[in-house]
């Protein structure tokens, strides 16, 4: 009974609840993240998440879905996405069959009325999300990849939670799902879209949080090693690099070190495994130059690493 009440009313009790709920599904949110997820629920507004790649933007939506036991509906955006892929489409084949099947027996007007009914409507992710009976979380991933004109498709559904279909009228939603939009910032999103959303910027985590993330995501990790990893990553992020290591790369690195059975990172270990963390040659060289004991031996160690 109580459960249904919460469903209808609000999903989350308070900010702390969101935070602990997320950490139960091993997503470590800071106050800002938890607070905005909580607000998104209270205000029934979508959340627009921006930030560097690999800081857990998509993961946040997944974790929120997991935590609230909701189904995740995901719309991956790409250039050329249109309404038949995002919103709805008429099932032409079925319509054609219907016309053929009843052409003899029924009046054309009747058939025509039938043709544009819900039976022939194919729901695409956006429509499906608001029509779903069960709780859902809608994730619109990499929204900056669609053209600015296509963005307009999202506006109605994001503010009114409804879809207008010319042949059918307005389809009202059964629920107000939690909506997350992610963007890598390759272009500025339109004002109209931004206005409808709560804005959340997820930056690289601070030392404390990164350490916790490592510990939470990789069981069996030594605390001291995790601390060392987090410190090194933080120092590397302070360098002027082409691409800074993301959280997922930090985790990869930690896993690598764990597999290699390393207990303490020294300069040699770091130089040999840094290619897990950094993906550009110039970045790797720069990092090694900064941290190695003896910068002259770079070439040597690199060859060893390759071999």
């Amino acid at each position: 009974m109580k459960d249904t009440l919460i469903q209808v009313d609000y999903r989350f009790e308070d900010v702390t609840g969101v935070r602990s709920g997320l950490s139960d599904v091993s997503y470590l949110a800071d106050d800002g993240i938890a607070g905005i997820v909580y607000l998104a629920d209270r205000l029934a507004k979508p959340v627009l998440i921006e930030g560097p790649a690999g800081t857990g933007k998509t993961q946040l939506a997944k974790s929120v879905a997991e935590m609230s036991g909701a189904r995740l509906i995901r719309l991956q955006c790409y250039e050329g996405l249109d309404e038949s892929k995002a919103l709805y489409e008429w099932n032409y084949k079925k319509q054609l069959l219907r016309i053929q099947a009843e052409n003899e027996t029924r009046d054309w007007n009747e058939i025509e009325d039938d043709l544009f009914s819900e039976d022939f409507l194919l729901s695409r992710p956006l429509l499906e999300a608001i029509r779903a009976e069960d709780p859902v979380v809608l994730l619109i991933d990499e929204v900056d990849r669609v053209e600015i004109e296509t963005e307009a498709l999202l506006l109605e559904i994001l503010s009114e939670y409804q879809v207008s279909i010319p042949e059918l009228g307005t389809v009202e939603g059964n629920q107000v799902p939690l909506v997350f939009l992610t963007s890598n910032g390759t272009r500025e999103l339109s004002e109209a879209l931004k206005r409808r959303c709560l804005y959340l910027y997820i930056d690289y985590p601070d030392l404390e949080r990164e350490r916790e993330i490592i510990n939470a995501k990789i069981p069996g990790m030594d605390e001291n090693l995790a601390d060392q990893i987090a410190r090194i990553v933080r120092s590397i992020r302070q360098l002027d690099l082409k691409k800074h290591p993301s959280v997922s790369e930090t985790l990869d690195w930690a896993k690598t070190l764990l597999l290699l059975g390393i207990e303490k990172i020294d300069a040699d270990v770091a130089t040999e495994t840094v290619n897990v963390l950094l993906k550009y040659r110039s970045d790797i060289e720069k990092a090694i130059k900064e941290f190695a004991d003896n910068p002259d031996s770079i070439e040597e160690t690199e060859e060893e690493g390759a071999a």
Binding site: L39, R42, K45, T186, R195, Y199, R231, S282, D293
Partner: protein, 496 residues
């Protein structure tokens, strides 16, 4: 929902006279004055959002406002400053006193209690300490990373060293400078490093040393921030919220003037350059893809007209030839535009990594092609360094001579300008009264597709002194004032 937040909700939403509503209104007005585009719906959202948040929770309050009012991360810093000014007097004072009791060690505790007793009188705590003792406490706090104590010490140092004079209309930086000079944090860093070297069992490897150093630097930065906000807080208390907000108002990143950008602002600008050029490249590519209408194809139309009995009912068009933009950038890197030049080089680099055919030239009074330094180089820092050291740009005395630079350009590279080439010239056209040689631009304009001039000087200064932009501009397709990112973006939009 707890009952307190419900109460807050009703007061902030319905009570017209509520102080919170007034405060929020003032806050939003100030955000707008600072240049942030806050719309009406967004401000209503903010009001609703805070009604769901217990107001005692300052962090949650801040994030609620941030999420609803600031939709661009580069504006976050401006938001933070305004927020601090408007809401700092409330809350954080208590915060300090709650924490300090829990965290302080034995002998510091007596100090703290002393402080608590005197807190209302403006926190004249620890005033009994000698400067050396204060320094020592600071050292310990930094060594142990003791946040609460650091906050307390930041406050004490401001009281002691900033020498604030009530009512004096100076900005916070002056006080910040005075406080930091007295604390001498650089030698503090050395001391911290020595200490951790001694504490270590073995000798520190370079890696460890580096990590320790980064850690301490981080803590010191944290302390600086504490001091800064402490100063701001006292200033707000002294001079009132609005006056303070006005003093602290700073241009948004996209409005920062290239010529007068601080180091930090410059770094921000550089970071914003990449998305900009990527945007430009993406838009060009899309044009090529969707702009599928070339000129009328006469032959094809006639051929098709046969099926309509000779009536050209359906006009046919040629497929447009995808034009590959060729860009030639000619940039002044002389002293008079030094700050802009640094930016220019980064812009050159960013452009050349996005377009297939970009040739870059730099000049002072001589001119040299630098395409080779910028292409295929992964590290921008190195590229810029090579341009600065290796490019042969000085002919006589290293004062800009546009005339001579242009004649070198025309002589050596003029033949490469074709009907597909867009030529961009970046500079202030301050020619030191040399011959202008503007006929070169006239010729180049004839041959090139477009010729643009971007000037980092305010339009009002054009054609004053030795600036001869007017003369050059007659032969350009356009001369634009480009002093900040916003103007650059507008220009780029025009270009595509």
């Amino acid at each position: 929902m707890s009952s307190t937040s419900e109460l807050n909700g009703s007061t902030s939403l319905e009570g017209e006279e509520s102080p919170l509503l007034d405060l929020l209104n003032g806050f939003i007005v100030e955000l707008r004055l600072a240049g942030l585009p806050v719309s009406l719906t967004e401000s209503l959202d903010a009001m609703e959002a805070v009604s769901h948040i217990p107001i005692e929770d300052r962090d949650a309050f801040k994030y609620a406002l941030g999420a609803t009012l600031v939709k661009n991360y580069s504006h976050w810093k401006s938001f933070e400053i305004v927020f601090e000014v408007y809401f700092s007097i409330r809350g954080s004072e208590y915060e300090i006193q709650e924490n300090e009791l829990e965290n302080l060690t034995e002998d510091e505790l007596s100090e703290a209690q002393h402080q608590q007793g005197e807190a209302p009188s403006g926190g004249g705590a620890m005033s009994g300490l000698s400067p050396e003792e204060l320094q020592e406490m600071l050292f310990r706090a930094l060594l142990n990373g003791d946040q609460a104590l650091l906050r307390l010490l930041a406050r004490q140092s401001v009281i002691r060293y900033a020498g604030m004079e009530p009512g004096r209309p100076v900005g916070g930086t002056y006080y910040l400078y005075r406080t930091l000079r007295n604390l001498d944090l650089d030698s503090m860093l050395d001391r911290l490093m020595n200490e951790s070297r001694e504490q270590a069992l073995n000798e520190l490897t370079q890696l460890e040393e580096r990590l320790e150093q980064d850690e301490y630097k981080n803590r010191i930065d944290e302390l600086k921030k504490q001091i800064e906000s402490e100063i701001r807080r006292s200033l707000v208390a002294d001079r009132g919220v609005e006056a303070m907000a006005r003093t602290l108002r700073k241009p948004l990143p996209e409005d920062v003037d290239f010529m007068h950008a601080s180091r930090e602002e410059m770094a921000n600008l550089r970071r914003s350059l990449y998305p900009l050029t990527r945007k430009l490249a993406a838009r060009l590519a899309r044009r090529r893809k969707y702009g599928r209408r070339g000129p009328l194809d006469f032959r094809k139309t006639i051929r098709h007209s046969l099926s309509y009995g000779g009536v050209p009912a359906e006009p046919k068009f040629k497929y447009p030839r995808p034009s590959k933009p060729e860009i030639m950038v000619v940039a002044d890197i002389s002293g008079s535009v030094a700050a802009f030049a640094r930016f220019t080089l980064h812009l050159l680099y960013a452009i050349s990594s996005q377009f297939s055919k970009v040739r870059s030239f730099v000049f002072i009074d001589g001119l040299d092609e630098v395409t080779r330094f910028l292409e295929g180089v992964e590290d921008i820092g190195e590229a810029v360094h090579r341009v600065n050291t290796e490019a042969d740009v000085v002919w006589v005395d290293g004062h800009s001579d546009y005339g001579h630079a242009f004649s070198v350009f025309w002589e050596k590279y003029g033949k490469d300008i074709g009907p597909k080439t867009t030529v961009l010239i970046l500079g202030d056209a301050r020619n030191n009264y040399h011959a202008s040689q503007s006929w070169i631009l006239k010729e180049a304009h004839h041959k090139a597709r477009k010729l643009y001039w971007l000037n980092p000087e305010p339009r009002a200064y054009w054609d004053t002194g030795d600036s001869i932009l007017g003369e050059y501009a007659t032969y350009c397709d356009g001369a634009y004032e480009v002093r900040n990112l916003r103007q650059l973006e507008t220009f780029i939009e025009k270009l595509v």
